[in-house]
């Protein structure tokens, strides 16, 4: 009898419909200290929560694109089945937000093409931009793509600004139907808990079904007009 079998995990197929989640995260130098620690803690909670759900772990695919100094795909689209630990982000560098948005959206389209190639159904992707600053690169084309993508129902785009973020620019990047929200204080944990609860709900829904997610009151507020005009 074979006592030392190789793990089956990588070889069993997973035909579950996919729920792609793209996280565009800002670990620029201004996030140093408590902010980046809270962000990392929130990410860990998100990974654990999705992995623990017997449906979501096979359906939710999460991609992390970071833009601290340079744009990096920190984690490609992958279900939580074999995800391992969440990456630990280190705060450094500027904020190439425009490039990060375009890189993330390009990657998302490639992933959707892969789903179609393999006959996998998928839910409308969620894209989250989380930043505490302003773009240090050109962002106008990225904003256009966000608006066009939303109009064409290619994804749902959420822009979330942490204390100190340039909400004026964020409001131009975010789709008009969904202006940016401000994270309450350092409520990263609450945000990622809401995110994991929301994707768990969506991933259990039927394809095409309208899903109601919990309110974002626990972690978000609408920015004040003074926060828009910096």
């Amino acid at each position: 009898m074979n006592q030392q079998r190789e793990t089956l995990l990588p070889v069993v197929l997973n035909p579950e419909p996919r729920c792609p989640v793209l996280l565009l995260l800002d670990p620029s130098s201004s996030m140093q200290g408590v902010k980046i620690n809270q962000l990392n803690e929130g990410l860990r909670h998100y990974v654990q929560a999705v992995r623990a759900d017997e449906v979501a772990r096979f359906r939710v695919e999460t991609c992390l694109v970071t833009f601290g100094g340079s744009v990096r795909i920190a984690r490609d689209f992958e279900t939580m089945v074999d995800y391992g630990e969440a990456p630990t982000l280190i705060a450094r560098g500027g904020t190439p937000m425009g490039e990060a948005i375009e890189t993330g959206l390009d990657h998302l389209e490639e992933r959707k093409a892969l789903y179609r190639k393999h006959g996998l159904q998928y839910y409308r992707p969620w894209v989250f931009l989380l930043t505490d600053g302003e773009p240090t690169d050109t962002w106008e084309r990225a904003a256009q793509r966000v608006h066009q993508g939303e109009r064409a129902r290619k994804f749902l785009f959420f822009a979330i600004g942490v204390e100190g973020a340039d909400f004026g620019t964020l409001a131009q990047i975010a789709p008009p139907s969904r202006p940016p929200l401000k994270l309450k204080g350092l409520h990263f944990a609450e945000f990622f808990a809401w995110l994991s609860d929301s994707v768990l709900t969506v991933s259990r829904g039927e394809i095409g079904e309208q899903i109601e997610t919990d309110s974002w009151d626990a972690w978000g507020v609408i920015p004040t007009s003074s926060e828009y005009s910096r």
Partner: protein, 259 residues
């Protein structure tokens, strides 16, 4: 005594969903190896919604087993030969199900069960099916696995065809290996394992999974040892049972020597 050409593993286990509902295992698997190196395998999957499906699966396996054991496998069989043999078996199954239904005051549809089967001879191979199981093969000289009998779905989601239904011969799928090709590996399965084994778009097999089976299963010539190993895998594997809650039947044959 010469080494048998084939090693075979086979098992049929209850799914966690059936266990939770207090249902019996409605799958049956039967394998027989003759002294002439012929392997006959039959799997039957009882419909979950049919109250006497386990009985139906039992009737299917016994009837096909009896029919195929009576064949002289030293001569090469044509498609028409298989159609005749399998057709007679299906006719006999229909009669047996009717008799059982009359005796037990039940409906014919209470016994709904599929059939997925194969015959492996040293120099030729065939597989057949009425239902939504599948058969995957690898040629002896190749590393690539192919689906030779794909699942056959009915009009609606989760519907298929049954060997116990009247006129089942009209839904019979038959595959014969090409005359100049020798089978090196064959796996027959009920639909329980389809979701983790076949790509949903085109029912092609997951190459890595079937390679894994070749490398990792216990290929003992002692059927009891081999059965226990596969049964243990299908029953206890967290990777399989997280994805598959239905009853699972799997029979795999491997040629002992690559030619």
């Amino acid at each position: 005594m010469s080494t048998p050409i084939w090693t075979v593993v086979g098992a049929s286990v209850m799914g966690v969903a059936h266990k939770a509902k207090g249902l019996p295992c409605q799958d049956r698997a039967w394998v027989h190896a003759t002294q002439d190196d012929v392997i006959i395998g039959i799997i039957s999957d009882g419909a979950g919604s049919a109250p006497r499906a386990a009985q139906g699966a039992e009737i299917v396996v016994k009837t096909f087993g009896k029919a195929l054991l009576q064949v002289d496998w030293t001569r090469r069989m044509t498609r028409d030969d298989y159609l005749a043999i399998l057709g007679r078996a299906l006719t006999e199954i229909e009669a047996l199900v009717w008799d059982s239904a009359l005796t037990e005051g039940a409906m014919v549809d209470d016994y709904l069960a599929t059939v997925t089967g194969f015959v492996l001879c040293p120099n030729h191979a065939a597989a057949f099916q009425v239902g939504d199981g599948f058969v995957v093969c690898r040629e002896n000289s190749s590393e690539v696995f192919d689906t030779v009998i794909p699942p056959k779905q009915g009009e609606y989601a989760n519907s298929t065809f049954f060997a116990t239904s009247p006129g089942a011969v009209g839904d019979l799928q038959i595959w014969l290996a090409d005359e100049d090709r020798r089978v090196g590996f064959l796996a027959a399965s009920s639909d329980g394992l389809a979701s983790i084994s076949l790509h949903c778009r085109d029912a092609t097999p997951g190459q890595d999974l079937f390679s894994w089976y070749e490398r990792n299963l216990c290929w003992s010539h002692d059927p009891a040892v081999a059965f226990h190993d596969l049964e243990s895998l299908l029953t206890n594997s967290p990777e399989i049972n997280a994805r598959v809650t239905d009853d699972k039947s799997l029979v795999i044959c491997k040629r002992t020597q690559r030619i």
